[in-house]
Subunit: 386 residues, 2 copies
Amino acid sequence: MREKVCVLGAGSTKYGKLNESIVEIALNASKDAIDSAGITPRDIKAGYISNVFGVTDKQVHMAPVIMSNLGIPDVPGLTIESACGSGSIMFREAYANIAAGFYDCVIALGVEKITHTGTVESTTLFSYCSDFFYEGGNGASFPGLFGSMARAYLATYKSSEEDLAKIAVKNHENGFFNPKAHIKKKITIDDVLNSPVVASPLKLYDCCPFSDGASAVILCNEEFAKKSGKPYLEVIGSGRGASPAAVQSRKDITTIPSTIDAAQQAYKMANLSPKDIDFAEVHDCFTIAELIDIEDLGFFPKGSGAQAVREGRTTLRGDIPINPSGGLKSKGHPIGATGVGQVVEVFEQFTNKAGERTVKDAKIALTHNFGATGASAAVHIFKKME
Amino acid sequence: MREKVCVLGAGSTKYGKLNESIVEIALNASKDAIDSAGITPRDIKAGYISNVFGVTDKQVHMAPVIMSNLGIPDVPGLTIESACGSGSIMFREAYANIAAGFYDCVIALGVEKITHTGTVESTTLFSYCSDFFYEGGNGASFPGLFGSMARAYLATYKSSEEDLAKIAVKNHENGFFNPKAHIKKKITIDDVLNSPVVASPLKLYDCCPFSDGASAVILCNEEFAKKSGKPYLEVIGSGRGASPAAVQSRKDITTIPSTIDAAQQAYKMANLSPKDIDFAEVHDCFTIAELIDIEDLGFFPKGSGAQAVREGRTTLRGDIPINPSGGLKSKGHPIGATGVGQVVEVFEQFTNKAGERTVKDAKIALTHNFGATGASAAVHIFKKME
């Protein structure tokens, strides 16, 4: 017997370069989520936090600090880390605890503050999320690893650097309508192709930015959600997967096994197939990642993703809009918060708060978020309830 | 409906200054736990890891690396952090997932490597586990905070610095018989009283060391445990609690609210009272902590702990042996591993592997582990099964 799990409220700070402390950033998102759900902090029975590099802002052991500042110092919490996938892996753990009946209402909060360390130090720290013995320690940071994946993809399937650029252009187009986005700027294919090479074939505009930010959602069981009288989402699918930590250990680097495994679990649980999804928030840390994601998630057959992109099928008005929020590429990528931020986007879409980036008539949405090069991943499917 | 949760195997590295990488340390404990349980890595369905400062050894996102090295790269995992309480808070999450029926067998692995950063840097990093805005940021590191708690306790209850020293002597006595202990050295009360003052009234021998190390246990449901035909423990009680993050926000600093809350939950679930516990592993990061713990856990009335210590009631041959392993004080305190290491001790005690530190005829044991000054805490109760 499992409880149905619902998302009753959601809040997010702006993503970008933020000057507040990591605790203040986390509290701002938490308070917005609590207000959005129409609850009081006292309704919260546990705190699930996702964060990776709090140590750089001199605060780990964050749950007691957050709970104390929310006025509920007796409410237990913990921090979950799974690199850039921390938010969704944590969300799944919060989901599991509600589903199992351990709590009726919890807060799931993702937060990161990293821009104060600077680009070089951030890149170094992020490389600790790779299999450092084989990858980071030998100079293979994430742009290089995703560059290799992009090179392999372009060599294997009918696709071009222009197709990758088109993904960046589309996500910037969507993010332009997101008031919380880090990079609110429309760009052209030429802008991408002419931007400095980071790790060939990836150029600057193929890469997401380093961002600070926090996102939070209130998760509860169905009884709690119904009593509130407010609109909510139900989590109808959940899955998580793993891939070999080092990219070199994978048989095929044009696909990410953890995504496929997590997605299959989520579809099976929801009793749905990819064609039932109205839109998806996917992990586009680099443009090549989104191209791989949309195939691994089953939206398009293997090797045909680039053609789908060319045909505009993933735009806001396409048959499967991808990253209406702007994605990691434009909305930003505060790594501990990203997976939660995707759920915030689904909540806003389903509660008429998405403005000009609204996906019309959407009722079923999917979120997909992974850690590192996809060594860990989680997929969730949400249904709009009224 | 909940599954019964069992501990089927346990393994630990030596605690102390270790030269291997954090990944190698973690793998050594994992392999020992797997061998001890008589399973193969393929039996493991998920990996729960606890760690705080992996970033100092250049590896976060540890689960994929550990699982890949164990030959099960498709098995998902995550890292949980709750400062010095990470091990027990993670253990509880692993427990909850088995209890809820999500998995039949998981590995719960705690690991830390910190001594390479040196004492000053370690103290600084650890202070990030406090409420840094109020505490660490104003120079209140943990020795100072526990020094304040000790000063308050000594001023409030009939007790002396010699009573604190007696706790250190007792734990070193126990740890002398633990081949994995960091500090295998018997000490006298005079040794403690004459050791350099760290934060008055606490002296060097009132403080646990900074340690590297890893501990791992195999958790499974009852069906899995019974099929194995091996001796195992059942987790019959589990609780976790929280206190105000900053010590200054607490009404009474001679007690730790999170311990009391977690213990009451665990006793209630097990339908037991403190007098039913045959021995306990408790969080003695400083001697004062153990004195407070044994009262908060209900073994002795408030204010009478020092007398109980004086009477030898907490020694290996006393009526409630505390820290037969040697505790954090002698066995060591690799902060991400400590809470798991306590479970390893219970497993060894209940499977005739504790040698000269064996608590005779013990059948019920309790573990207690907290983060920082007790802002987070978890308590578990175990029953010997045959």
